[in-house]
C-alpha cells in the first residue's frame, strides 16, 4: 500500500457517508434512525453524514422488510454503491419480517436479497442501539477498506 493510498483510506475512514433507505416498514425505525442525526444523538461525532445518493455512500442502513415491488429497487441501490460497502439492517421487520411475517404481501427479510453485516434488533430499536450497530459496521468496513486494493 502506497503512502497516498494510506492517506486516502485514513480520510475515508473518518468521513463515511451513510445512505438511509426505508423499505416496506412502518416508519417507526425510520424516525428513530433519523433521530440519530439530530442533536441528542448526533452521529456526526463519528464523521458520518447522511447522503441521498447511493453512488457517494459507504454504509447502507435499511428499515423494514422488502415486498415484491421494492425488491429490484433495493438490489439496484445496493449495486450502485461503490466498493467497499457495509449494510446495517435496523429493526425486527428487516431481520425477520416482525409481526407481519404471515401477511400476504410481505416478501422477504433483507438478508435474502442483499448481504447484511450488522443486525440491530428491536421494534423499534432505540437510537443508541442503532448508533452502536453503525459503529460496529464501520469496524467491518474498515477491514474491507484495508483489504481493498
Amino acid at each position: 500500500m502506497t503512502i497516498l493510498k494510506k492517506i486516502v483510506n485514513f480520510a475515508r475512514l473518518k468521513s463515511p457517508y451513510l445512505l438511509h433507505f426505508d423499505c416496506t416498514g412502518c416508519n417507526g425505525c425510520t424516525i428513530e434512525t433519523l433521530a440519530c442525526i439530530t442533536p441528542r444523538y448526533d452521529v456526526e461525532r463519528f464523521g458520518i453524514v447522511e447522503k441521498g445518493n447511493p453512488r457517494h455512500s459507504d454504509l447502507l442502513v435499511i428499515n423494514g422488510s422488502v415486498n415484491k415491488k421494492m425488491e429490484p429497487r433495493l438490489k439496484r441501490i445496493y449495486e450502485g454503491m461503490a466498493h467497499p460497502k457495509a449494510v446495517v439492517a435496523v429493526g425486527a421487520c428487516a431481520i425477520s419480517r416482525g409481526v407481519f411475517f404471515d401477511a400476504y404481501n410481505n416478501g422477504k427479510p433483507i438478508d435474502k436479497i442483499v448481504p447484511v453485516d450488522v443486525y440491530v434488533p428491536g421494534c423499534p430499536p432505540k437510537p443508541e442501539a442503532i448508533i452502536d450497530g453503525i459503529v460496529k459496521a464501520l469496524g467491518l468496513w474498515k477491514e474491507r477498506l484495508e483489504e481493498y486494493k
Partner: protein, 384 residues
C-alpha cells in the same frame, strides 16, 4: 415541450419510498402522477387472520408515528361492538397519549418542512425539542415509539403522581419553546418567502377532494373529528384551529396553534385526572355486528370499520388513514408550481405512506398499470 422527471422511490427529498412521475414545462409542473405500492404489506388481510387481542399489536405497527391513535381507534371500535363502558381514568390517559403523540408528530413535521425549505438549523432545533416529548412518552409508557398503552377495555399502565409532575414541567418547557417557533416560522422573511402562496389548495378543491386534518383546516374548512367527543375530549376545553390562507404558511400556523392546544389539553387532563380502575373486564366473545370509529390523528381523520361474525377473529377490518385522503390533493397543489417547491409541497401534507398503502396489484414481468373500477371490483367480489 414537456419533460418527465421521476422522483423516488429513493430520493434525497423523500423520507419514505413513493414514486412521483412529474411532467414539467421548463420549471413549471404541468402534471403529476403518484405511484404507490412500495410499502403495501397486506395489513387488512392479516387482521382477518388474527384474533381481536392480537390485532391491537398489528394496528400499532401500521404506522410508527401515529401508533397510539391507531390502537385507540381500533380498541374503541371493538369496545363499541362489545358495548363496554371504559373507565374514566382510562379515557383521560388515552387523551394524554393521543395529545403527546400529536405534539411529537407536529414537531417532527415542523422539522421536516424546515429541512425541505433549507433551514437546517430549525430542523435540528425542532427535533431536539421533540426529544422532550419522547422522554415523557418513555417515562409514561416505557417506549419511545409503539407505546403499547391501549388495550381493549382500557389502558395498560397508569400515570403516577411523580410522572404527572414531570409531565407538567415538560409541558411548561415546551410552551416556551413553541413560542419561539411561532416567531421563526410565521415572522421570518425567508420562511414566509418560501411558504406564502406556495402549494395553494382552495376551499372548493379541499372540499371536492375530501381532504382531512390540518390541511383542510388551513383551507378555511372547520372540520375536526375531536368534536365528536371520543376519549375525554368532551371534558376538556379546546377549540379547532381554522385558518384562511390556503397555503403552506397557514398550514404551519394551524399546526403551531394545535401544539398550544395540545399542551392545554394535556394540562387539563392531568389536573382533572379522576381516580379509579384502568381497565374493565372484557367478555371473551365479540357478538355479531359492525361498527365504525372515527378519530383525529395528527394528520387528519382516521376511520376504522370493523365487522364481527361472532368468531374469535374479525370478518373485516377496513382502515382509511388521513394520508389516503390527502394524497389526491397533491395534484391541484403541485400543478402550476415550480419544480423547486415540490419537496416542500409534498412534505406540507405530512404524507405517511405506510398508513396509506391499502391495495397493490403487482404483475410480474409486465409494466402495465391496472385500474379497478366499481364494476370490476363487484365482479371480483362475486367470483368464488
Amino acid at each position: 415541450m414537456s419533460t418527465r422527471i421521476p422522483v423516488g422511490p429513493q430520493h434525497p427529498a423523500l423520507i419514505e419510498p413513493e414514486h412521483l412521475d412529474v411532467k414539467v414545462d421548463g420549471e413549471t409542473i404541468t402534471d403529476v402522477d403518484v405511484h404507490l405500492g412500495y410499502i403495501h404489506r397486506g395489513i387488512e388481510g392479516l387482521m382477518q387472520k388474527k384474533n381481536y387481542q392480537q390485532n391491537v399489536y398489528i394496528a400499532e405497527r401500521i404506522c410508527g408515528i401515529c401508533s397510539g391513535v391507531h390502537t385507540s381507534t381500533y380498541s374503541e371500535g371493538v369496545e363499541s361492538l362489545l358495548g363496554l363502558e371504559v373507565p374514566k381514568r382510562a379515557k383521560y390517559i388515552r387523551t394524554i397519549i393521543l395529545e403527546l403523540e400529536r405534539l411529537h408528530s407536529h414537531y417532527l413535521w415542523l422539522g421536516l418542512v424546515a429541512y425541505e425549505i433549507g433551514l437546517d438549523t430549525a430542523f435540528q432545533i425542532s427535533w431536539r425539542d421533540r426529544e422532550i416529548v419522547l422522554d415523557l412518552l418513555e417515562k409514561i409508557t416505557g417506549n419511545r415509539i409503539n407505546y403499547a398503552m391501549n388495550t381493549i377495555g382500557g389502558v395498560r399502565r397508569g400515570i403516577t403522581k411523580e410522572m404527572q409532575k414531570e409531565t407538567l414541567q415538560g409541558i411548561d418547557a415546551l410552551w416556551e419553546k413553541t413560542k419561539y417557533y411561532k416567531e421563526v416560522f410565521l415572522k421570518d422573511s425567508i420562511v414566509r418567502a418560501r411558504t406564502k402562496n406556495v402549494g395553494v389548495l382552495k376551499k372548493r378543491d379541499a372540499e371536492r377532494y375530501s381532504v382531512a386534518g390540518p390541511i383542510v383546516r388551513a383551507s378555511s374548512v372547520d372540520f375536526d373529528v375531536r368534536t365528536t367527543n371520543y376519549a375525554a375530549y368532551a371534558d376538556v376545553k379546546w377549540k379547532p384551529i381554522v385558518r384562511h390562507g390556503c397555503d403552506i404558511n397557514s398550514r404551519l400556523d394551524v399546526r403551531i396553534e394545535e401544539v398550544f392546544e395540545a399542551l392545554n389539553i394535556i394540562r387539563q387532563c392531568i389536573e382533572n385526572m379522576p381516580e379509579g380502575p384502568l381497565k374493565t373486564i372484557v367478555p371473551p366473545v365479540v357478538p355479531k355486528g359492525e361498527t365504525i370509529m372515527r378519530t383525529e390523528a395528527p394528520r387528519g381523520e382516521l376511520f376504522y370499520y370493523i365487522r364481527s361474525n361472532g368468531t374469535a377473529m374479525p370478518e373485516r377490518v377496513k382502515i382509511r388513514p388521513p394520508t389516503y385522503a390527502n394524497l389526491l390533493a397533491l395534484k391541484p397543489m403541485l400543478i402550476g408550481s415550480e419544480l423547486a417547491d415540490l419537496p416542500v409541497i409534498v412534505a406540507s401534507i405530512d404524507p405517511c405512506f405506510s398508513c396509506a398503502e391499502r391495495v397493490g396489484v403487482i404483475k410480474e414481468g409486465t409494466n402495465k398499470k391496472e385500474i379497478f373500477d366499481g364494476r370490476r371490483l363487484r365482479m371480483m367480489k362475486d367470483a368464488p
